[in-house]
């Protein structure tokens, strides 16, 4: 690994760790504004994390080491996944360690760890949250795989750098249709996987509606800080992945262009979060068993996206 690769890797890690909590506030702010409240200060999540790190913790009497180490494993897996999605520069060696399929597998490692931890407390809340989370994520996963296949058809690569760097050889009309479809399907994935309305409500503690919150009810102190940080990184990761598909421009062409590229990325990611927060404030949460309908739409969109890419490519290659 060259020295410059090392810088890019370190910058990416710093960006993932530093910016993730900020996105949490963006959601809270937008929600507050639409409700004519002022909302928390921008740095509130950082303060919350610091506060949690200073607290003692209480652990359930049924807990095993799984409960104690799951947050670290989930954090590590999410972090590793976030390191594989290019944000401001596509050409570093770190992005060739794994492709987007690997990101999907890493996310399932994180989910596995937290779902086990939720069962470990022996509470009904944790158990049901765990069951809902693994099964809802299961029906989201094909959509994500469809989007990756689409990316592979369009850029010839399943990796992040492919999407960030390579030009798209699709005819314009087909490309537009294909784009629209894949972005639509990815938005559904993002809503589901980051636990936002209409799939889950991150600010509720009502047992009938909880999914992600229910899984982490028993955590306190530094481990809760890890859990919150993991949630934030996960949101960052999914928004970054959406951007990789939806707005693949403005990546630094070489090492000199890195600073403006980071600024542009921040602008992009804030814009997406504003849009998602707006969706969240204007919709109501869906009943749990209505959600498969939403995911069926997601799957259908991504199948259509792949098919339109195939057709577009076919007309392109035809003599």
């Amino acid at each position: 690994m060259a020295v410059s690769d090392f810088y890019v890797t370190a910058l990416q890690a710093a960006l993932v760790l530093a910016v993730s909590p900020l996105l949490m506030t963006v959601f809270l702010k937008v929600k507050a504004w639409t409700q004519r409240r002022r909302g928390p200060p921008l740095l509130q999540p950082y303060a919350d994390l610091m506060k949690l790190m200073e607290k003692d913790e209480v652990v359930s009497d049924t807990a095993s080491p799984v409960f104690l180490y799951a947050p670290a494993v989930a954090f590590a897996a999410t972090f590793a996944a976030a390191m594989l999605v290019p944000t401001f520069f596509g050409g570093a060696a770190v992005f060739t360690i794994g492709d987007l399929f690997v990101v999907v597998f890493l996310l399932s490692l994180a989910r596995f760890a937290m779902a086990l931890a939720a069962l470990d407390t022996g509470s009904g809340f944790g158990g049901f949250g765990s069951s809902r989370d693994v099964i809802l994520s299961a029906i989201v996963e094909p959509t994500l795989v469809g989007a990756i296949l689409w990316g592979a058809l369009v850029t010839g690569s399943t990796g992040g750098p492919g999407l960030a760097i390579d030009a798209r050889p699709l005819p314009l009309i087909a490309a537009l249709a294909s784009y629209g479809l894949v972005i639509g399907s990815l938005i559904i994935v993002v809503l589901a996987e980051t636990g936002r309305i209409p799939v889950d409500n991150p600010s509720t503690h009502l047992e009938l509606t909880m999914i992600h919150e229910a899984m982490t009810l028993e955590y306190s102190g530094p481990r809760l800080a890890l859990v919150e940080m993991t949630k934030a990184m996960r949101q960052f990761l999914f928004v970054a992945m959406l951007l990789l598909f939806a707005a693949p421009f403005g990546f630094a062409p070489d090492h000199d262009g890195i600073v403006p590229a980071i600024v542009l990325f921040m602008a992009k990611i804030l814009a997406v979060c504003l849009a998602l927060a707006f969706v969240e404030t204007t919709t109501a949460k869906w009943r749990l068993f209505r959600l498969p309908e939403l995911f069926t739409v997601g799957i259908a969109l991504s199948v259509l996206a792949v098919m339109s890419a195939v057709v577009a490519r076919g007309t392109l290659h035809a003599p």
């Binding site: 209480v58 954090f75 086990l116 069962l119 069951s131 094909p142 296949l149 490519r313």
Partner: protein, 671 residues
């Protein structure tokens, strides 16, 4: 005769001696320990032979004169049989080492006959992968089926083992009939009994014959491989067998079906046709989904593992189908990639499924139940086993950086390869649909793995077993360690392993052996050629360091308290989720994949004039009801229709005799 040949002979003799010792040992009034030591040694010797063959796979033939005229037994060693020899021998070693402490702990009655059948089973199992003519193959195949039938029959409780063994017996004989039909068809067209002859003449066969040979073989071997909808025997027989046998059946025996399907499709009836690929892809991917969903809902810990075998077998068959599709459209390099992925997944599945079945054996022994509803909280009673099995569960759920993950990744890459060479919308649609079904099955297998591990080991003990379970001894746990280690090693060093698999696959699909960079796992697309498994592990370790460092440095005070459940501190029962409830969301979203069996039981005695009713609802396999239950009913109905033939009147029977004679004479003249 090469060294590998000599080692194989020694291994065979050791299995034979094991069978012999098994008959003597109980007579001397001692438990069967030598009878399991022999196959363990034989496995080690076989492993050495397998590795030798993998290093130098140039096909070599061994042949023995049989004590019958015109018959000789032929064995053949090449890359493919070397791989399966290695897997079978690895399984033989670990299962045999596990067997004698396991039997001493009292799970299954320790009988000489059991050890005898076990040795015969292993002998035949290893031999099946080496056989190179119809005689040798069928003799060993039948030995394998019959010995494993006896082993299933030895399971407990007998009320469950008998019907399971019986359905296994019937299905295996149906399979053998189909296999014999397939071989006989080849014999009539080629005039040779040897597989080598089939290989020589296959190109000259007409397409119809080839199609029939393949279809018959698909039905016969597919039954052994657990391809849906021919899998019904598998989730019955595998759980009831003693755990060391379940591990071998799920890990190794089903791969005999896959192995012969590869041989038939590419060699005996090859080159393969597109339609076969389509058939395998559809059957495989549906089997994977069905297996994953059933594994998610099964309440019996070993049955859940058996259905997970159906799932992984489906994935392997699907990958084999993709490889056939690519091979028939003359993309030999890609075909060998995907076939390599199928073989890699077969090897990985063998490792983690053996580990899980042996571990399940320990858990069942410790808790005296196979019912997930009755377990829970075992991690605190048996922390060592919990730690070993989390590796197996992770590999089962295809989590990075373990071995299940890398082979599923290569399978996805194979599907992508199929998609990228297919410019027609139909082929692309099939590839996309299959990729999504596989993704769905994979995600459900994660859910199933969480449920299996979580409800067994974590949380609060739901009934007796959690309070009586004891940590199994090191002797029982030790054979699991190499398997757990392999789960990690095959993941981290997957580039080496996968290159070996592709090198085995290349001569089968007729591709040139490609040389791959040592550290990277290759993909199928030109611009994203590879991933770096060791690097993924490093990234995860980096994240772990970030996460654990502050916790270790800060050392906040930790206190223990009861989980708040909303039911008050004094409540006698703390509500927690049950195994059935955990799967409920999946069973409600996908009702087609489950058969709801509802029963109303009326208590025999009336209490104060009131009869108590009990309503029970269970979830079963839909295939069983749709296909298998009607068959005996139809047979019974048909035999009732023709019952008048047997009137008992002697006159009528005389008429039958005369008619039969006339028909025979007529037929002879006509012929």
């Amino acid at each position: 005769m090469t060294d590998a040949h000599l080692l194989i002979l020694i291994a065979g003799l050791l299995y034979g001696s094991g069978a012999f010792v098994a008959l003597i040992e109980p007579r001397l009034g001692r438990p069967t320990s030598l009878a399991y030591l022999f196959p363990a040694a034989a496995g080690a010797v076989g492993l050495a032979a397998g590795v030798m063959v993998l290093q130098d796979p140039g096909p070599t033939i061994m042949s023995f004169a049989a004590p019958l005229p015109f018959v000789s037994f032929t064995l053949r060693l090449d890359g493919l049989s070397g791989l399966f020899l290695t897997l079978a021998s690895l399984g033989a070693t670990t299962s045999s080492l596990f067997a004698s402490p396991y039997l001493r702990s009292g799970g299954v009655e320790d009988r000489g006959s059991l050890a005898f059948a076990y040795n015969v089973f292993l002998f035949a199992l290893v031999g099946v992968f080496l056989a190179d003519d119809i005689y040798t193959f069928l003799v060993l195949w039948e030995m394998m089926s019959l010995a494993s039938f006896l082993l299933v029959l030895a399971g407990k409780p007998a009320t469950e083992a008998r019907p399971a063994a019986y359905s296994y017996f019937i299905m295996m004989h149906l399979a053998t009939v189909l296999i014999i039909a397939s071989f006989l068809l080849l014999y009539t067209r080629t005039g040779t009994w040897s597989f080598e002859g089939f290989r020589l003449f296959s190109a000259g066969l007409d397409p119809d014959t080839r199609a029939w040979v393949f279809l018959l073989a698909f039905a016969g071997f597919g039954m052994k491989a657990g391809v849906a909808p021919l899998h019904v025997w598998l989730p019955r027989a595998h759980p009831t067998a003693p755990s060391h046998v379940s591990a071998l059946m799920s890990g190794v025996m089903i791969t005999a079906g896959t192995y012969m399907l590869i041989r038939t499709a590419f060699e005996f009836a090859g080159p393969p046709l597109v339609e076969w690929g389509v058939l395998l892809v559809i059957a495989g991917s549906l089997g994977a989904l069905l297996g994953a969903l059933q594994a998610l809902s099964a309440n019996d810990i070993k049955k859940a593992l058996a259905y997970s075998t159906v799932e992984h077998s489906g994935l392997i068959i699907m990958a084999l189908g993709v490889s056939i599709l690519l091979s028939s459209s003359s993309h030999a390099e890609l075909a060998s990639f995907v076939l390599g992925a199928a073989l890699f997944h077969t090897a990985n599945h063998m490792v983690f499924k053996s580990l899980m079945f042996l571990g399940a054996g320990c858990v069942v022994e410790a808790g005296h139940t196979r019912d997930l509803e009755e377990m829970g909280g075992l991690a605190r009673r048996m922390p060592r086993m919990a730690a070993i099995l989390i590796v197996g569960t992770g590999a089962l759920a295809a989590l990075p950086p373990l071995n299940g993950f890398v082979s599923e990744w290569t399978i996805f890459q194979g599907l992508l390869g199929l998609l990228s060479v297919n410019d027609g919308p139909v082929g692309a649609a099939v590839a996309t649909a299959v990729a999504m079904v596989v993704a769905l099955a994979g995600a459900f297998s994660v859910a199933g793995a969480v449920r299996l591990y979580g409800l067994t080991f974590l949380g609060k003990g739901r009934s007796g077993p959690a309070s009586v379970a004891k940590e199994p001894s090191w002797r029982l746990a030790a054979p699991l360690l190499p398997l757990a280690f392999l789960c990690l090693a095959l993941g981290l060093f997957s580039p080496v392993a996968f290159t070996t698999m592709v090198a085995i696959a290349a001569p089968i699909t007729g591709a040139a052996v490609l040389s791959v960079p040592g550290q990277l796992l290759p993909g199928t697309l030109s611009t994203m050629p590879s991933i770096f498994p060791m690097g993924i592990a490093v990234l995860i370790a980096w994240g772990l360091l970030f996460a654990l460092l502050p916790i270790a440095v800060l050392r906040r005070k930790r206190s223990v308290a009861r989980t708040w459940t909303g039911s008050g501190e004094s409540a006698p029962v703390r509500p927690s989720i049950t195994a059935a409830a955990y799967a409920a969301a999946a069973t409600q979203i996908f009702p087609t994949f489950f058969q709801r069996i509802e029963k109303v039981e009326r208590a025999a005695e009336k209490e104060r004039g009131r009869a108590s009713l009990m309503h029970k609802a269970e979830l079963g396999d839909p295939v069983e009801d749709a296909i298998y239950r009607p068959v005996p009913l139809i047979l019974e109905g048909a035999s009732r229709r023709v019952r008048w033939v047997q009137s008992g009147s002697i006159h009528q029977y005389m008429v039958y005799l005369i008619i039969a004679m006339m028909v025979a004479v007529g037929a002879m003249r006509w012929l």
